[in-house]
């Protein structure tokens, strides 16, 4: 568990979405802990370890030491780890994914020239409001999105927990875009939980009622809200794939931080090894 002082420390230094305990705890059911300046989440027998240190620079040796300390403390069966570069903890901790985080510098970002007229048209057609909770219309859009994109398994469960995340995390902001008839055509969720960083978590738009420029309009609203609250950067998450990366780069986002993901099991005798172990 995090103490109020820990929570303040995390918020002060947060720079990746996994530094948002309200978000990660809501979608993973993990309990947040701070270990040697790193945030980790204990979820059953799994330890989710965020290898991006808070309040200091990334050092592979520090990370390896912190992971070892967390493993000693929590004795997980498996560790899921993200870091700029995975430490050489075990031969079995292979890099499973590589990507990079993208961010917008809020002191310099401006609407891309090519998109200005598109966004102006969207702004004339849509009204964007900030709300506190997802309602049935939002959940309908989520259901439509999950069906049309064939989202399954754990990704689906994350989306299904978004209402609980938005309702429970005081720092989450819901931006809804509605047409003149009041129909919801798109929405975005951002988190303003970092002192320096805001986080653009995701956006969903209606395929049934598409409005060109709706996603860009929502992003301009999030940028404005983040600036109002004094944030320096907006973290846009990972590149994911070429299409998403293009969207982020179109807005002037830079890949500012490397990302590696791996999964390993700490070396310790298992049930069958234990059975056969000599003292």
């Amino acid at each position: 568990m995090l103490s109020p002082a820990d929570e303040a420390f995390v918020a002060r230094h947060a720079y990746v979405p996994e530094h948002l305990p309200g978000y990660v705890a809501a979608v993973s059911a993990g309990e947040p802990h701070l270990v040697e300046g790193h945030l980790c989440y204990r979820a059953g027998e799994t330890l989710i370890f965020i290898g991006y240190p808070l309040g200091r620079g990334c050092e592979v040796a520090d990370l390896a030491r912190a992971v070892s300390a967390a493993v000693t403390r929590f004795r997980p069966r498996q560790v899921a780890l993200t870091a700029p570069a995975l430490p050489d903890l075990t031969p079995r901790c292979e890099v499973r994914e590589r990507d990079a985080y993208f961010r917008l510098d809020l002191s310099t970002v401006c609407v891309p020239a090519k998109e200005r007229s598109l966004i102006r048209r969207a702004a004339r057609e849509l009204r964007v409001t900030q709300e506190r909770q997802l309602d049935a219309a939002h959940q309908g859009l989520v259901a439509e999105f999950l069906a049309s994109h064939q989202v399954a398994g754990d990704a689906r469960r994350i989306y299904e927990r978004i209402p609980a995340y938005v309702a429970g995390a005081g720092t989450a902001r819901l931006f809804s875009a509605r047409d003149p008839a009041g129909e919801l055509v798109a929405f975005a969720v951002a988190d303003l939980g970092g002192d320096v960083y805001a986080f653009y978590q995701f956006s969903i738009r209606s395929a049934r009622r598409p409005v060109p420029g709706a996603s860009d309009l929502l992003l301009t609203e999030v940028i404005a809200a983040a600036r109002r609250e004094g944030k320096a950067y907006l973290n846009l998450g990972l590149g994911v794939h070429a299409g998403v990366t293009r969207f982020k780069e179109k807005w002037g986002a830079e890949a500012f931080l490397a990302y590696e993901y791996g999964l390993f099991r700490p070396r310790r005798p298992g049930l069958l090894d234990a059975l056969l172990r000599l003292p």
Binding site: F202, D273, L275
Partner: protein, 283 residues
């Protein structure tokens, strides 16, 4: 449930310690089952499948079919299996956890080094040996002391705590105890004699409060003597595990043999959520 016919077949064909029904049932708490030529143990929400066939030669595709059948039958959250090699059954994601080798001792060829003879000779003068059929409160005290001192993982602790129940239930279990001059338990071994062809070292524990140098080594000699009296050709010493344990086994003539691959099949859990956390946007 295991039929009496299967029980007899398993006993007569057991080739590794995990084929010992009494030991595995007591320690795992699972119920034994047989699928094709493979023994398994199930207890919601997990299954352990022993991927060394009881009678025929090992085949990765045959093991794959047994794994598929076990997953379909029990729908476990986690299925652990051991096998001489890692199979790749179609449509199943197998996580390879550990590689090791079984260590065995050839009873007939057992010739301890003179230095070990001297060590155990000194220990024998300070200790008395007994063979018993129960974990007594004195053994439990030694276990409690051992656990408090070594602070092993919860699974190893669970293994030791299961010994009282296992020894009480399994007629094939023997407790070899070394007592000091005051009669206190200095060290003890638990050995299983269920399989016709081999004896199995199950656990060993020594006390620091009633410590006598060479007590564990003296028990090793006694274990070999017991196995020989019972007509066993080999003693299963378990896995290499780490350098220290390997050295102990090799010191006494243990030889690496069958490959051992520990694998896991899991339903997806919290770990796979992590890479999704920063990539929802734009899916």
């Amino acid at each position: 449930m295991i039929s009496p016919v299967d029980r007899g077949r398993i006993r007569s064909h057991a080739s590794i310690p995990e084929h010992l029904l009494g030991l595995m049932s007591a320690v795992s708490g699972g119920e034994a089952f047989v699928v094709d030529d493979y023994l398994g143990f199930a207890k919601d929400p997990w299954v352990i499948l022993i991927g060394y066939p009881l009678t025929g030669p090992f085949g990765a595709s045959e093991l794959g079919r047994a794994l598929t059948e076990s997953l379909r039958e029990f729908r476990p959250a986690t299925l652990w299996f051991i096998a001489p090699e890692v199979p790749a059954p179609p449509g199943i994601r197998v996580e390879h956890l550990e590689s090791d080798r079984y260590y065995t001792l050839d009873v007939e060829g057992f010739r301890p080094r003179p230095s070990l003879r001297r060590l155990t000779g000194r220990a024998a003068r300070a200790l008395s040996l007994e063979r018993g059929r129960a974990i007594t409160p004195q053994h439990e005290e030694a276990i409690a002391e051992f656990l408090a001192r070594e602070r092993p993982s919860p699974r190893i602790e669970g293994l030791f705590r299961a010994m009282t129940r296992y020894v009480a239930q399994a007629e094939s279990a023997v407790v070899l105890t070394a007592r000091d001059a005051e009669g206190a338990v200095s060290a003890f071994y638990v050995v299983d004699l269920e399989a016709p062809g081999f004896a199995t070292y199950v656990v060993g524990c020594h006390s620091k409060l009633h410590y006598v140098v060479g007590a564990s080594d003296l028990l090793f000699l006694e274990m070999v003597a017991l196995a020989r009296e019972q007509g066993k050709r080999t003693i299963h010493l378990g896995l290499g595990v780490n350098d220290g344990i390997r050295r102990f086994k090799e010191k006494w003539g243990g030889q690496p043999g069958l490959p051992y691959e520990l694998c896991e099949i899991r339903r997806q859990g919290a770990a796979v959520i992590l890479p999704l956390l920063a990539r929802l946007w734009g899916r």
